[in-house]
């Protein structure tokens, strides 16, 4: 219990005028954002990575609208005390970030890490598409989706550590060993909501995704890149990591690109060119 409490603790670093809200993944913990939080804090940003009740590890699942209310509350708190607030999220946390940006055009910039609108990665079983049907039956009370190897991690040493924790305690830094059908259903409902409102989002957006993501393929990032209403949308694909890119082999690069993107957004330095006004090499 004590261990779970330490995992679900908010990460908060005070800083300057510019704040960053970091959103962890579904049924997971703020700890998976700790590396990027430290990096942003070291570079002068105020950082808050809150544990979201009803969405994070260990709390009974609530609806996606309640998740969004929680995120909105944290955003409003930061907005009241800081000049700008940028948002970054991992997995469904990125989807929540998009839902927030659709409502709050004041978000300074978005960094969407392994954004998940479709569960279509290589570890997702073929029958996943049938879960929506199964959710309408009493099966929803009994079935839960078990996390499986590689647990979103390509780094073998880190994966071994996570596996050990999953087996012994049923959870780890990257979250719970199982995902209830309620969580999956609500996440899919959130993704559906975001897909409908994607074109309304005008916030500058950075997308970072692994091509061998085991939970959601790079097609997710491509979908957001193609349909988001932002004038500036930068997409980065990586090959030496899986889904949890904030902890895996390329976390340094993910943190650096996020920091630079936020700094450029604040300085108004995003240059863009091309037919769809998406960032091109000229902006590099």
């Amino acid at each position: 219990m004590k261990i779970q409490n330490s995992l679900t603790k908010d990460i908060h670093y005070p800083g300057g005028d510019h704040a960053v809200l970091l959103l962890h993944g579904l049924s997971s913990t703020p700890q998976e954002m700790s590396y990027i939080a430290r990096r942003l804090s070291q570079n002068g940003f105020a950082v808050l990575a809150p544990y979201i009740k009803g969405y994070g590890l260990g709390s009974p699942c609530t609806t996606w609208r309640e998740w969004l209310n929680e995120v909105r509350r944290h955003y409003a708190q930061l907005r009241a005390t800081h000049r700008t607030v940028s948002v970054s999220g991992l997995c469904i946390g990125a989807t929540l970030g998009l839902a927030l940006a659709a409502e709050e055009p004041g978000v300074a910039a978005l960094s969407l890490l392994s954004v998940t609108l479709f569960y279509d990665g290589w570890t997702i079983p073929w029958y996943h598409g049938l879960l929506n049907l199964a959710y309408r039956t009493p099966i929803r009370h009994f079935y839960s989706f078990s996390e499986r190897e590689p647990y979103g991690l390509k780094n073998v040493a880190l994966r071994a550590k996570v596996m050990k924790s999953m087996r012994q305690k049923g959870n780890s830094t990257i979250g719970s060993a199982t995902l209830s059908m309620h969580h999956i259903f609500e996440a899919q409902a959130l993704a559906h909501h975001v897909k409908l409102h994607l074109h309304e989002i005008t916030t500058n957006c950075l997308l970072i995704h692994a091509i061998d993501d085991d939970t959601s393929t790079a097609a997710n990032a491509e979908f957001v890149h193609a349909h988001i209403g932002s004038e500036v949308s930068r997409k980065i694909l990586l090959d030496d990591c899986y889904h949890i890119i904030t902890m895996d082999n390329e976390r340094e690069l993910v943190a650096r690109e996020t920091q630079w993107f936020f700094e450029e957004a604040l300085a108004g330095k995003h240059e863009y060119a091309g037919a769809k006004n998406k960032l091109t090499r000229a902006s590099a």
């Binding site: 479709f118 279509d120 990665g121 290589w122 598409g129 091509i211 061998d212 993501d213 085991d214 393929t217 790079a218 097609a219 997409k235 980065i236 694909l237 990586l238 090959d239 690069l253 690109e257 630079w260 090499r281 590099a284």
Partner: protein, 263 residues
């Protein structure tokens, strides 16, 4: 191989609907040509449909076409027509040959499409890495310039010859004014050091300097030579050199004395 390469095809159940439409079209064309073809090539159009769907929508919908077209072809286009009761050589050739050949085609197409998708993903990673490298290089160059500018600025703080008349940050009250120059400054002429400095210059020089301070993208700064009028008319103008230092923490101005000029 990248595990996600198998996800190259578009997603969704609609693909199977399109496969059924392709099957219906192939059947329709074959039945129209049946008086001409008779028992020859009973599965030709089904193979074409399966290959086209396999290429564009993936192997799943293509296999659906193969599975459904086998009884259709046997029933309608292999003699004796419209019955399953007789099993002869033609039926055996159809039942063994058609699925084997078509599935072999589909397997090769699937393998090529996965390889093609993998190559596209790897190319995108390469492009992302190049973009990141260029961004890093741009930052490195900016840092290099910033260090060089800061080093040159710092030299003025240890002014051994006493030539420095003024050091100030643009738009700020922070400034150093030498004793010589303080006599020429009018304290009431502006809130910031920059405003007082501009007020002390000839109007034309002040205009040039103000224009220079407002101009963007001059990362290295520039050296301007101008004259500083004296309050006492009998004193000669000072020939001065004004240099700007655009640092990461604001632009600095350094004014140095070159010589005195007789009016």
């Amino acid at each position: 191989m990248i595990n996600n390469a198998r996800r190259w095809a578009p997603r969704g159940a609609w693909r199977y609907g399109v496969a059924l439409l392709a099957l219906a079209l192939a059947f329709e064309v074959r039945i129209l040509l049946h008086p001409f073809l008779e028992a020859r090539m009973p599965t030709l159009f089904f193979v074409i449909a399966a290959v086209a769907v396999g290429f564009s929508l993936g192997i799943g919908p293509a296999i659906l076409i193969v599975v459904l077209s086998l009884p259709l072809a046997d029933f309608f286009f292999v003699p004796p027509y419209r019955e399953f009761s007789t099993l002869d050589k033609s039926d055996v050739i159809l039942v063994t040959g058609f699925p084997t050949v078509t599935l072999a085609f589909l397997a090769m197409i699937e393998w090529l499409r996965r390889t093609q998708y993998e190559a596209r993903l790897i190319a995108e990673v390469a492009k992302s890495r190049l973009d990141m490298l260029l961004r890093t290089e741009k930052r490195r160059l900016q840092t290099e310039k910033s260090v060089s500018i800061s080093n040159r600025l710092l030299l003025n703080f240890s002014d051994d010859d006493g030539d420095v008349l003024y050091i100030g940050r643009v738009g700020s009250k922070y400034e150093y004014v030498s004793e010589d120059l303080s006599q020429e400054f009018d304290a009431a002429s502006g809130d910031t050091g920059t405003q007082r400095l501009l007020a002390a210059l000839y109007p034309e020089d002040a205009r040039v300097l103000a224009l220079h301070l407002n101009s963007a993208n001059d990362a290295y700064g520039r050296i301007l030579t101008m004259h500083l009028p004296r309050k006492k008319a009998h004193l000669i103008d000072l020939e001065i050199q004004v240099e700007t230092f655009p640092t990461a923490h604001g632009d600095y101005i350094v004014m140095k004395k070159i010589s005195e000029k007789v009016v």
